[in-house]
Assembly symmetry: C2
Homo-oligomer: 340 residues x 2
């Protein structure tokens, strides 16, 4: 079948490995006929999980690996020394063209470092970018870059804007996505040296719908679709988003448990509140793609459950179906010809 | 009276000027006998507001100014050309020693630029820093710097940590405040060039309780008392905090208004929820001090009501009473002697 998509699932990565990883992989295979998964990791542990399900065996492979990269391990060293880890073996399969993509819930640093070092960048892409989806009041936005490489240059940010736009439109289905750069004010003359240098380049960049600066205050209301920033700032945004949300929701819940009256009130609002809070939870959108590589790496939360793993596999499917990397390459050539 | 404190209130700055500014000033004067306020702005408008109150007239002065700096005006130009604005005249009063401090809810950029340009820095302080208080799950933290000067150097951040610690301990009453630097991971080797350079300097800095890197995710839970970062990152944190909070609370409120059942539930939880959300609202802590100047500038929200203005005036009182600027100067001398 020509549209067959082969996705590696790093079965040993993340807090819920291998159980939820295997479960998500099986669900994806059951639901989409063209999906083929390759589970990397300890064969006995994976087989024990697989025994819980009925599934098309011809579309689920196991590649035995003897090692596991732990969450707290220093990434560079882990990638270098653990050659037979579920992550490194999985990345190699993508590199060799034996798989189209890999989904991992494991050590973030190792996924980012390994993706770059083993799979390698698309020719012309200066730096890959990690682009998680963050929830907004009325949908979601793509935050690019939240990766491992900080102190970016302006040319990197321009490529992030391009790759992010392509991904947002082709994979997440947002037409003509609005691109904004994170800044400390809406005026063009505001910003740090990097933003000031990047702003005119984005303004001149063909093929993107650049709307100018966005202030952090306006991100949660969904002011733009592709939020461009360098990785340090992106990391702060991503994590603060989680942190403020977590703290506020915990406080709201505590206020509901205060006394009998509030407990009765809580029972009445529970399902409506739950639904609302669910829409502000990013896990429905799958994991974060590492864009700009010769293949796709999707990093999901360390705490991912089967549903997020499954969604991430569909992300990989769309990514291949839509020829995202081909479009990124064409875009680069086009821009080079225009001298951008 | 030796402990008399003279505070300028920029009566024309902010969305609720002059009404709430005048009201807050009168309340402070009524409540604290040693406070003397100087209202700068249009005399007729101020007098019209003052006519609503009974207050000790000998402790409320008006200094007539013919101009007002608008919210959207480019700051540098505004400070340069509007010499008779309520802000510039107020800053001059502090510069000349005719007032100890100024509170303004006006144009943020103009307050920051004007504070530096007119009042001037404490000798030895390389850069002033704006340090708002942000709410946390169990209290509050000081976020330093959120000012107008981006692209800071490591030596600036060290001074921010010192000034922030002094302010947190002496004005906000947090003993031996824990100082953390915003980073993208907890490990010492992580971070961008600035953070990597600053980390060992903070570790070696005497007189502060440095606890290492803090991730943005942990800020809302109150992981440290003084959060050090350069202004671009600080601005992103401050505004995203507001943005996520605002969006989430709006969503929670919408979920409560969904149907009759949730509306009844909402009525039962209302007061408890309100109390909880109030504790996550920074306005009770007054405005943000601009630290490192020869005098105190306190910037309050543009939307400040009388209560925030009043609290900000008490902040100025404590600032003077505790001799904060003297302590900052002593600290600098001490560190210079130690070769820091």
């Amino acid at each position: 079948m020509s549209d067959r998509i082969r996705v590696v699932v790093d079965a040993m990565g993340g807090d819920n490995a291998p159980g939820e990883l295997v479960k998500g992989a099986v669900q994806a295979v059951l639901d989409h006929e063209n999906i083929h998964v390759i589970l990397t990791g300890r064969k006995d542990a994976i087989e024990r999980e697989l025994a819980n399900y009925t599934y098309p065996k011809e579309r689920v492979d196991i590649v035995e690996c003897s090692e596991v990269i732990e969450t707290a391990e220093p990434p560079v060293n882990a990638i270098r020394t653990k050659k037979d880890s579920s992550l490194v073996v999985g990345l190699r399969l993508v590199k060799k063209g034996e798989a189209d993509a890999i989904v991992s819930a494991g050590n973030s640093g190792a996924v980012l470092v390994g993706g770059q070092a083993i799979i390698g960048r698309i020719k012309g892409i200066e730096r890959p970018a990690l682009a998680p989806v963050i929830p907004t009041a009325d949908g979601f936005s793509l935050l690019i870059d939240c990766g491992a490489n900080v102190d970016a240059r302006a040319s990197h940010l321009v490529q992030f804007a391009q790759m992010g736009s392509i991904y947002m439109e082709q994979v997440l289905g947002v037409k003509n996505p609005r691109v904004g750069i994170v800044n400390i004010g809406a005026e063009e003359e505001k910003g740090n040296a990097l933003v000031k240098e990047t702003f005119p380049l984005l303004k001149a960049c063909p093929g993107i719908n650049f709307i100018g600066s966005v202030e952090a205050r306006d991100i949660p209301s969904g002011v733009c679709d592709v939020i461009v920033c360098e990785a340090f700032v992106g990391n702060v945004i991503l994590k603060l988003y989680e942190g403020v949300g977590f703290t506020l929701i915990r406080m709201v819940k505590q206020s509901l448990m205060k006394n009998l009256k509030t407990k009765i009130g809580a029972a009445l609002i529970q399902s409506s509140l739950k639904e609302t809070l669910k829409s502000f939870d990013g896990s429905e959108y799958g994991g974060a793609p590492l864009l700009g590589l010769n293949g796709l790496v999707v990093k999901t939360h360390g705490s991912s459950k089967a549903r997020e793993v499954e969604t991430s596999i569909y992300q990989c499917e769309l990514f291949k179906k839509q020829n995202i990397n081909e479009i990124i390459r064409e875009n680069l050539i086009e821009n080079n010809e225009k001298g951008v």
